[in-house]
């Protein structure tokens, strides 16, 4: 049986990679995709714990995470479309109006 902490380590690594993507990339869509990556890493953690504690609650949480992630991706993409219409760019560096 694969021990729990193997799954947790993998999950941590994927999460960190997702964070890296959010920080580094200058394309809004890729940033959104990195966020999805992070969410999935967390989902993996939940399912792993759910299995190893014998409780369905972990899976229920993942269910909800997926629903919310769907909603969030939809809104996020709608915003990206809206922003692209105005700025003709997807580079977050071009969107720095909210500052002193």
């Amino acid at each position: 049986m694969v021990p729990l902490h193997y799954y947790l380590i993998v999950s941590a690594i994927v999460f960190a990679i997702g964070v890296l993507g959010v920080l580094i990339r200058r394309n809004l869509i890729v940033i959104l995709m990195s966020i999805e990556l992070m969410l999935n890493a967390v989902n993996l953690t939940f399912i792993a714990f759910s299995r190893f504690l014998g409780s369905m609650e972990g899976q229920v949480v993942v269910f909800f995470v997926m629903a919310v992630a769907a909603a969030e991706a939809v809104i996020g993409l709608a915003i990206i479309i809206s922003v692209f219409r105005h700025r003709q760019t997807l580079d977050p560096q071009e969107m720095q109006l909210l500052k002193w």
Binding site: V22, L23, P92
Partner: protein, 641 residues
């Protein structure tokens, strides 16, 4: 000390004596212009007249050892310390009441004539009534705090009335001077009150009520009592123009003459004497303070008289004379003869008011001239003014059987018989000088050739009845008021008997009757010398008045310039103080205080412009910061494991 009488009666009438002038003042304040000058003046005079009538009635009802009280309401209460707005009339207050309302009434009537052509007449009567109100508060208050309220109030009215003709800037300066110098005295007064309250409070008694104080002050240590009385006396030197705070009184002559008569002769300036008399039980426990008071009184009397002998302004002579006579009163207080001091207050009010009003009559007749060198020969033109002036001058000089004779001689006798021979000598010479300068004034103004200029001469006329009637009444008082306090070898003193309830029985005579008569004769001799000198220099028809006698001698110049006291004060106190204030205003305030405040603002701005660099607007930068925080948290949790 005789404990206060057993009969303390509650009497609701008392508050009306105080309130009626206040009401008239308020009515004139708001509706005076609508009423018109003459009606407003009549209302004001009637109000004081009503107060006088009530005061007479109360006086008639009051037994010699009785006390009337009227509690209006409780002003404030703090724990067991309770201060009421409450009035008290005992024998001492009754005397002061009659003086304030009676002479106040006469002066109001006089002002109807004197201020008749003045545009600000309504305002004048508002202030004058307000003054009467505060003065009555002062003499009728039953505790030290109400007295102090009245004390401050009369100072305020004095300021308002000195600077009455405010279009002339010099008048407002004089008003300021009076108020500020008074303030210095009041600072000492307030410290005295506070010290009294706290020291008594330390013993568990919290009160400023006079009757309660009388019962408890012996609980305090002599050193504390000396300090308290000294501080209170500082207040009295300010209000009653003694050394060193007398400098405001001569300048106060800038105000209209009725003001000089009422405030700066008869009533306000005697407030200091009244206060010491009211607190006689406290002062009696502080012999060191009393000796200071006696010396200051004697010195002031002498000093002011030496200035009065050379002055050429008719009102300035009377002003310095007032300072001098107040010195007599404080000398009496200092040797413990409180009854004699109040007696002199009483008689002085009559003849000094008469003299001032008479001078006002002269000034009015000459169309505003106040320099005596431009007067003379007015006897023929203003008979009634002249004769009343003569009577008042006789009184102040101390000619036998005038009021001044009895009161001044009483003080001289008391001083001698208490063993204060040096002070007696000083005031004896002062009596001579008083006679000299008063008769000098009489001769210069009324006798000889008329030296007035053509314009004034054309204007010359006797004053109307509304002005001369008060003069006549006051002149009569200047003679007969003193008959209440005659020495034993004549017909005895009703006065001492009346005030015995307050001050205790008159002390047993320290000397024989023959010594007393001898002292009186010596005084009369000195007075005669003074009158003779005055006659020789100014009374004869061939005396030259225009060129001043002994012009140029050092003493003369010192005296004429009042020993340069004002200039000395200016150099020693006012200038350094002003320089200090300038320093604070122009250097400390902008650089240090504004600098600190602005500095904080600048520092905040500086800090903020540093931190604002964090706000790049770039989401990824924000996320990085977020991550750093998360890492820190992570590290902390790892540390805990």
């Amino acid at each position: 000390m005789v404990t206060p009488a057993s009969s303390i009666v509650a009497y609701d009438l008392l508050r009306w004596i105080v309130l009626i002038p206040l009401l008239a003042s308020v009515i004139n304040l708001f509706w005076g212009r609508a009423l018109g000058k003459n009606s407003a003046g009549a209302l004001a005079s009637a109000a004081v007249g009503a107060s006088f009538a009530l005061a007479l009635y109360v006086f008639w009802q009051l037994p010699a050892t009785g006390i009337f009280r009227d509690l209006v309401y409780t002003w404030f209460e703090s724990g067991s310390f309770r201060v009421n707005l409450s009035f008290q009339v005992d024998a001492l207050t009754a005397v002061m009441l009659l003086v304030v309302t009676g002479i106040g009434f006469l002066i109001h009537v006089y002002s109807l004539g004197y201020m008749g052509h003045d545009d600000g007449m309504v305002r004048f009567f508002v202030y004058l009534n307000l003054f009467i109100f505060f003065m009555l508060l002062l003499v009728m208050g039953d505790n030290l705090l109400i007295l102090f309220v009245g004390w401050e109030g009369v100072g305020l009215c004095s300021y308002l009335l000195i600077g009455f003709w405010y279009h002339d800037h010099n008048n407002t300066i004089a008003g300021n001077k009076a108020f500020i110098v008074n303030r210095i005295g009041d600072f000492g007064f307030l410290l005295g009150i506070l010290l009294l309250v706290t020291e008594l409070g330390r013993q568990g008694i919290w009160t400023l009520d006079f009757l309660e104080l009388q019962g408890h002050v012996q609980m305090l240590s002599p050193a504390i009592i000396s300090l308290i009385t000294f501080l209170l006396f500082v207040g009295a030197t300010g209000k009653s123009a003694q050394l060193p705070l007398f400098v405001w009184l001569p300048d106060a002559m800038a105000g209209p003459t009725p003001v000089s008569a009422l405030i700066h002769a008869a009533t306000m300036v005697t407030a200091g004497v009244y206060m010491t008399a009211r607190l006689h039980f406290l002062f009696a426990l502080a012999p060191s303070t009393l000796s200071v008071i006696a010396w200051i009184g004697a010195a002031t009397a002498f000093f002011a008289a030496t200035i009065a002998v050379t002055q050429n302004d008719i009102k300035k002579v009377l002003a310095y004379s007032t300072v001098s006579q107040l010195g007599y009163m404080f000398l009496a207080v200092g040797i413990g003869a409180f009854s004699a001091a109040i007696f002199h207050v009483f008689t002085h009010a009559f003849f000094k008011a008469c003299l001032f009003l008479g001078s006002g009559s002269v000034i009015h007749a000459l169309g505003g001239e106040q320099d005596m060198r431009k007067m003379g020969g007015l006897k023929a033109h203003m008979p009634r003014t002249y004769w009343t002036y003569v009577i008042a001058t006789l009184a102040i000089a101390g000619i036998p059987f005038t009021a001044g004779f009895f009161s001044k001689d009483l003080i001289l006798w008391q001083t001698f018989s208490h063993g204060a021979t040096l002070q007696w000598g000083i005031v004896l010479i002062t009596a001579g000088m008083t006679a000299f300068y008063m008769f000098r004034q009489l001769f210069m103004v009324f006798h000889g050739e008329c030296r007035a200029d053509a314009h004034a001469k054309a204007h010359l006329h006797e004053s109307p009845a509304v002005m001369t009637m008060p003069l006549v009444i006051l002149a009569i008082g200047s003679i007969f008021a003193g008959w209440l306090g005659a020495p034993e070898y004549l017909w005895g003193s009703r006065w001492d008997h009346w005030l015995a309830g307050v001050f205790g029985a008159a002390p047993a005579h320290h000397g024989s009757v023959s010594t007393e008569i001898m002292i009186t004769l010596i005084t009369l001799a000195v007075v005669a010398v003074g009158i003779g000198l005055a006659y020789a220099k100014y009374g004869r028809t061939d005396s030259k008045v225009g060129a001043s006698v002994d012009s140029g001698s050092i003493l003369y110049r010192l005296s004429l310039n009042k020993y340069y006291v004002d200039e000395i004060y200016d150099g020693v106190f006012v200038r350094p103080f002003t320089a200090c204030s300038q320093f604070f205003a122009q250097i400390i305030d902008p650089s240090v205080i504004d600098g600190a405040v602005n500095g904080i603002a600048a520092a905040t701005r500086g800090m903020s412009s540093i931190w604002v660099g964090l706000q790049t607007g770039n989401v990824q930068h924000y996320l990085a910061a977020f991550l750093v925080g998360t890492l820190a948290l992570l590290a902390y949790c790892l540390g805990q494991l």
